[in-house]
Every structure is written in structure tokens, then in C-alpha cells.
Symmetry: C2
Subunit: 332 residues, 2 copies
């Protein structure tokens, strides 16, 4: 399903990152970084994740000079069971709350829902947030990091960070131009250590449908930026789109999982993942390049693997999804 | 946040229930029941839950004579970690998917999001689904049922069932008239065996704001129906609304958790819970009474406790939320 918006604008973003991210190529783009450890003064990884999310929402309110009462809606999701980080962060804010979950595609799901509320004039200001925390995610999805379980090169590294975006009906320099809601795609892959391969077909389906529905070619965009396929998944997507859809995106395509880290120098295997990965890249780096008009049309395509450890242990394959959002500099 | 809709209609529902529900007061209202066991031919409780959800979506498509391509959007959520039931059911349908999570308030969250897509003319037909499964939920949230852990009288009993609703822009006899999105409310309660007490303040806040925002008194509605507070939570809500908000809803109020079971005769403690509880009651019993024009204005207020077992083990209190949706018979 592809939809276009008339009056949805991006007003402000907030980005908070952990130490691996602060040591990566985008370090100068984040609003705030925590570099001492991954606890941030809390007593558990989960509470550290909640703190990150609360911080990013508070910072967004501060940066955009809004009070809680000025915001109609907070939309948030994360990787914790029962999206606990979003649940517990939301209780701190006097703002109506909708919890969402599409794994690492959560940020674009939230942007699409918020944009619909704003475009239909039901809401004026919406905050869309997400968060992920490396050691909290490892503990829940795989093994506690302390176990030292080895991983193959195709595995990705969950980003520690939180990113929020304020969407509004008030005119700004950047608007949400259109979006395509993804379908759940499952090609039968069962390798939890190769999420790039799991998610590439979902990204391909969404990118193809987006371009078809709006009668656009890939070069309509200055940049097409997938969620977190990582360095191997990125190549799979390029080849898959060529082979299955006869679509060449190689000249203006990149992946947030390979932008957020220096995969040659940092110990992050195939690159970054987690819902905060694409949100951090999009709301810091991409946002700044668009504000500086170095990028004018960007298609962000956060990708998510919709599995659970329980389903994996029951020998299930791994479904995936990707939602595309077109961001556009408003020409005066 | 309260919003009114101009052109959102309820076209069809589907309801599938397990054996406790089939032995309850609403047995004649469900489309389909599974009474043999709780496996439904599957090999795990989780796969049984996925089957229930797939069944209810397929049945809804059949009852409403729609093909997958006719449906713009599938919105679904459930109690499984990473909403796995919705993820795995969604891969079976060629319909764009948005995953949501607000625990047992998931159904009204979905109705509100779908209504916004329809009211803004971005979508014509949306399916909103949810599911819960007693033994899958017990295993994940508390202890496997086989352990025989005793519970206090205030505990609720997770409903086994799945319910889906088709919302559309095409005029029918019942419309979605307005809705109020809830805020996350946490009064510091920590008793996971008394969810009625945890959720009542959230229901009260949402009901109060809904009536205030639309300048209505409780008797505007033929029935105000909360999600799943159970028999003790129901009394708490009535008293809480009287004491804190000077609002008396006692003459036209009931709770889905006490309607779905005969709490005097069935071994269900304080009543039903789980996202399927309110959805089953609303989409079978309430829907039929509205079609027969025995109820003309109904405010459904599904309630959810936004905690996770991890947060409970870390000694956290339990946040809750409630979203209200006003259903109205269309006067010719």
C-alpha cells in the first residue's frame, strides 16, 4: 500500500548513541553520546534501554521547544519483549501512547502511522521514537554477551541508541512525501546469524512496489537507504532487485547498518542492526544532509526480521518486513 | 487525544473461540469454536495461537467476500514476545502489515489506527485482528499450566480465541464514531495477579477524557464496556470514577472479562483477560446487539497492562493503558 501526503513535515529529531556508535563514522552527528559503559547509571541493561528512550523523547521536546501537552501522540516500539522499553518510557510522559512492533522496521512504521494522523488533521504534533541496546538485545535474543558465544561474519551488531522524530502539520524545510507499507515476506531462511539475507527480499518487495505505485525509477531519489541489511545483505539486495525485478539501485543505494559503523575497523561483524540503527542514521546524518540540501529526495527503507526466539527454537523460518518512507526537501 | 470520524464503517467481524469460551454464556455468538483441546492439531501452544489468528483472518475474508488484494492493510497484535503470532500469521496473507502492541488494549489501538487510515482516504478496507491463547500466555507470562501454580481470586484467566474486524469506507449499519487514545498510567501497583486494579485507573482516565473532550455524560451511551478488568477490577473502576472524577457509570457499565465467562460457575477466577477477551465479546455479542439495534451507542474501552515478565522480575510496578472507541448504529 503506497500513499502520498500533502501536509506532513519533519520538525526536529533527537539522537542519543552508545560507545560503539560514538566511536563510529557518525560520531559528530549525534546530539548526545554515552561513552563510559552501557549501564548509563542504571542497574540493568533493560533499565539502561528505558533510560535511553526517555532521554531521547525529553531531548526532542526540549529541542523543539514543545511541552508534553503540545504533543498529540507518542508512537514507539523496541525489541524488548512486550516492547517494555516503550511501555515504561511512555509512563513518564503525559502524552497519548500507541505501541508498535515491526522489529527494526519499527521507525518507519511509526512515521507512516503518525503521518496518517497528521495528514488527516487528527493530530498536529506526533513524536515517533525507538530504541535498542546491544547487551539487552543479546541477552534476550541470543545469549548474554558475558557467555562469549562466537558468531559468524554475517551476524550483525545491535546498535545502542535511541532516536526520536517530531512530525508536524506546520511547514518546515523537509516533508514526508509518500510511503509504502510492507508485506511480511518469508523465503524460508532459518539463519538467525544472517539477517541481511532474511530481510533483503522484504526490502526488495517494498522498494519495487513503491517505485511501481508512484511510477518512479530508482534515480528519482538522491539516495535509497535500507534499514540494517549489513554489508552482505546489501549486496544480496542489489543482486536480488536486478535479478528478480530488473531494477538497478546500485548507483544511489546504501545501507544504514554499514554507515553507522566502520565495518573494516570496528568489531561489529557485518554492521549495525536494531531499530535504533536506521533511526539514528536517518535522524542524524540524513537529516543534516537534507537540511544542508546536499540530499533532496531520500527513500528510507528500515527493514525488520519478524521472528521470536520461541519461534526459532520451534524450527520456524524467519519472516521479514520493510516499510519505505520518502523524505523530500521542500522547494521554496 | 480524542478524534471523531466521518466515514468509517464496520463491515464484518469473525470470532473463533476455545473450549472455556465455548462453554461460557456467549457460546451461541461465536462463528467457530475449538472444543477438543487447546492444540487445534498443532504441535505447540504458540503454533496453536498462530493457527487461531490465521483462521480468524481467513474467515473474515470469506464472510466479507473479499480477496486479499481488496484489503489495504492488516493491523494485528498479540501477547507473544515480538508479537510472534501476528508476525507468523501475517506472512500467510498478501496484505501490507502493521504490527502493534498495547497488551489487552491492542484491539482498540488497531481500530483507531485503521479508522485514521480510512477516514483520511488512504485506505478503503482494513482488517484489525488479535489473538490470545490461555496456555501459551501462561507459559510465557507466569508458569506453564502443567506446574499447577495456585492463584488468588483476583487473577484473571487468559481467553483462548481470535477475533478480527473489517473496517471500511463503504457505508454500513454501524460506524466508528469517535475514539480516545489512552495515556500510559502507572499508579505503582505491583500485583501481577490483580490486573483489574492495575488497569482500572487507565480506564478511568480514558473514559473521563473521552466524555470531557466530546462534552458527553455517561448516559450518552447505551453501554460502556471496559476491556478485561474482571469482577474485582470492575468494582474498582466504578468507585474510582465516582471518587476521583465524580462520574457515575454504574447504570450502563459492564466489563468484557465478566461477560465472556460465568465467573460463578466456571473455574476462571476473576474473569477473562487477554487481547482476545474484549475483541471476542465486542465483535460477537456487542456486534449482534448493535445489528439488531438493541444497542445503538456503545463505548468499548479495551484495557491493557503494559508490563513484561522481565520488568516484573526487576521489581518494577505495572503501567497500564486503555483506548476508547465509540460505535454507533447509523440512523437511516
Amino acid at each position: 500500500m503506497t500513499t502520498t501526503y500533502k501536509n506532513v513535515y519533519l520538525k526536529e529529531t533527537s539522537t542519543i548513541a552508545g560507545n560503539y556508535e560514538a566511536n563510529g563514522p557518525l560520531k559528530s552527528y549525534y546530539d548526545k553520546t554515552y561513552t563510559k559503559d552501557l549501564y548509563f547509571g542504571e542497574t540493568s541493561w533493560e533499565h539502561a534501554e528505558i533510560k535511553l528512550l526517555k532521554d531521547s523523547i525529553s531531548l526532542l521536546l526540549k529541542k523543539s521547544k514543545l511541552k508534553e501537552n503540545d504533543v498529540d501522540l507518542l508512537i514507539s516500539g523496541d525489541l524488548q519483549n512486550q516492547i517494555a522499553s516503550s511501555d515504561y518510557a511512555s509512563r513518564e510522559f503525559n502524552i497519548p501512547f500507541l505501541g508498535i512492533y515491526n522489529a527494526c522496521a519499527t521507525s518507519s512504521e511509526g512515521i507512516i502511522i503518525a503521518s496518517t494522523f497528521i495528514d488527516s488533521k487528527q493530530a498536529k504534533n506526533c513524536i515517533v521514537s525507538t530504541v535498542s541496546h546491544n547487551t539487552a538485545a543479546e541477552k534476550q535474543y541470543r545469549n548474554p554477551t558475558e557467555y562469549g558465544t562466537p558468531k559468524p561474519e554475517t551476524a550483525t551488531f545491535t546498535v545502542t541508541g535511541s532516536a526520536s522524530i517530531l512530525l508536524t502539520s506546520e511547514k518546515t524545510d523537509i516533508r514526508i512525501e509518500s510511503a509504502t507499507i510492507g508485506k511480511t515476506i518469508d523465503k524460508g531462511t532459518k539463519d538467525v546469524n544472517h539477517m541481511g539475507a532474511v530481510m533483503a527480499p522484504a526490502a526488495a518487495d517494498t522498494i519495487y512496489r513503491h517505485l511501481q505505485d508512484l511510477n518512479r525509477s530508482p534515480d528519482y531519489y538522491d539516495l535509497i537507504l535500507t534499514g540494517d541489511l549489513g554489508k552482505y545483505g546489501k549486496e544480496i539486495l542489489i543482486n536480488y532487485l536486478k535479478k528478480v525485478y530488473q531494477l538497478d539501485i546500485s548507483s544511489n543505494y546504501d545501507d544504514c547498518g554499514t554507515i553507522i559503523y566502520d565495518t573494516d575497523k570496528q568489531p561489529v561483524l557485518a554492521g549495525g542492526s536494531g531499530p535504533a540503527c536506521s533511526a539514528l542514521v536517518n535522524y542524524s546524518y540524513v537529516y543534516r544532509l537534507m537540511k544542508e540540501k546536499k540530499l533532496k529526495r531520500v527513500l528510507i527503507v528500515p527493514t525488520g526480521a519478524l521472528f521470536s526466539p520461541t519461534m526459532f527454537f520451534q524450527k520456524e523460518s524467519l519472516p521479514a518486513i520493510a516499510h519505505a518512507v520518502s523524505l523530500e526537501v521542500v522547494e521554496k
